[in-house]
Symmetry: C2
Subunit: 231 residues, 2 copies
């Protein structure tokens, strides 16, 4: 019943060895962080080292590991070396990875909750107080979930820009209004990143406390029409 020739075994072994190459690439926390940062755009080694809070040589060799796995590409620009994701698919993979971790590892929620509980919630804004300000046009609500999830239901008047497209579509957001980002679930990992990115780019940004399912639980209206945001 089993056609388990040794040739077939060798074939499988070398195949899975390749698959594990990309697994190894995301086996180190700092490398995942680097991929995440690169998902927001190309950066130099020094910049990445600073953002990830590691030494420059350390960042360099992490990047070389990622390059060996073909997940990032290096391009020499003058005195600097600019690293970038090798492919959009890499970004999607990292998103999938984070999503799986968030879905399966209770620790992720626990850690995020502890962090924001400790700091009270200086950048968290309750949906209740928000809904009125949105009506008055004082604030832009940003949905950073994947487009499908947005379509399944979102905050009234929210603009949909998935987290991995945010960098490229920043110009769609008005700079003069505060931006409130949200993501599904009580621990909004993506929203945190979105807020950080927005602040880096000069926006006034906060994150929303609760996600879509919670609104439903509260009986809020959940729109299904797509609005704002072009391209």
């Amino acid at each position: 019943m089993e056609s388990m020739t040794t040739a077939h075994r060798r074939f499988k072994d070398s195949l899975y060895e390749q698959f594990a190459r990309v697994g190894k690439a995301v086996a180190a926390p700092k490398r995942v962080e680097l991929l995440d940062l690169l998902g927001q755009g190309s950066r130099t080694v020094e910049a990445l080292a600073g953002l990830a809070a590691i030494s420059v040589p350390n960042a360099s060799q992490h990047l070389q590991v990622l390059r060996a796995a073909r997940l990032v590409e290096a391009r020499k620009r003058g005195l600097y070396v600019e690293y970038s994701l090798a492919d959009d698919e890499v970004g999607h993979f990292v998103v999938t990875l984070r999503g799986l971790a968030a879905a399966r590892l209770a620790e992720v929620e626990q850690i995020t909750r502890a962090h924001f509980d400790g700091r009270g919630g200086p950048d968290a804004v309750a949906g209740d107080e928000l809904i009125g300000r949105v009506r008055r046009g004082e604030v832009t609500v940003l949905d950073v979930q994947p487009a499908e999830e947005y379509r399944a239901g979102h905050f009234p008047r929210a603009v949909s820009i998935p987290i991995d497209e945010l960098k490229a579509r920043l110009k769609e957001l008005p700079k003069d209004r505060e931006v409130v980002a949200y993501r599904r679930g009580p621990y909004c990992v993506m929203a945190v990143e979105a807020v950080e990115l927005l602040r880096q780019k000069g926006f006034t940004a906060r994150r929303m406390e609760l996600g879509v399912p919670n609104w439903r639980a509260r009986g809020w209206r959940v729109a299904t029409v797509r609005r704002g945001a072009g391209a």
Copy 2:
């Protein structure tokens, strides 16, 4: 500009440490293979060890690593321990992982090509000879790509069953006819697995030589209608 408090650093570090937990889980080739096998259904430790060609204790501790990362679950059934994927999302993640490796690592294609070139192609069937036999109803053509890719274009009269649903939907395939599976691209990793699974289950199965893009290049008709296969 950077609100890089040490608290925030610690938060990020512990968060990415969690993400890397699932990275570490797929950093070993044999663990990826085990996940792949479990994607086809629950199995005992001994069965997995046999299929992956490793010792039972080795399989056991690999499975414990996967269990620590919450990717698999163990359920005691009598004298055996039955392992299974903890969630469908895990299966999707593995598919994404394989897909990324296949897309980015030329070695994957090279290895697969070398394997099937060496063995001639005993289980490979050319699309040319196939198209007539399909018309005559002598053979079932199986599209194991994700449903979206199927919708984007597929072999005439092909039945769509994504590889990760194949196990559950086997009964949709007629057992009396030969099954020819295919996947996009010249190296059909998924197709190979599908063929193996089908043969295990008593089907007569082969894989198709070329994928959708190649048909287009050859000017074949590529249908867009969904046919066959229910739920």
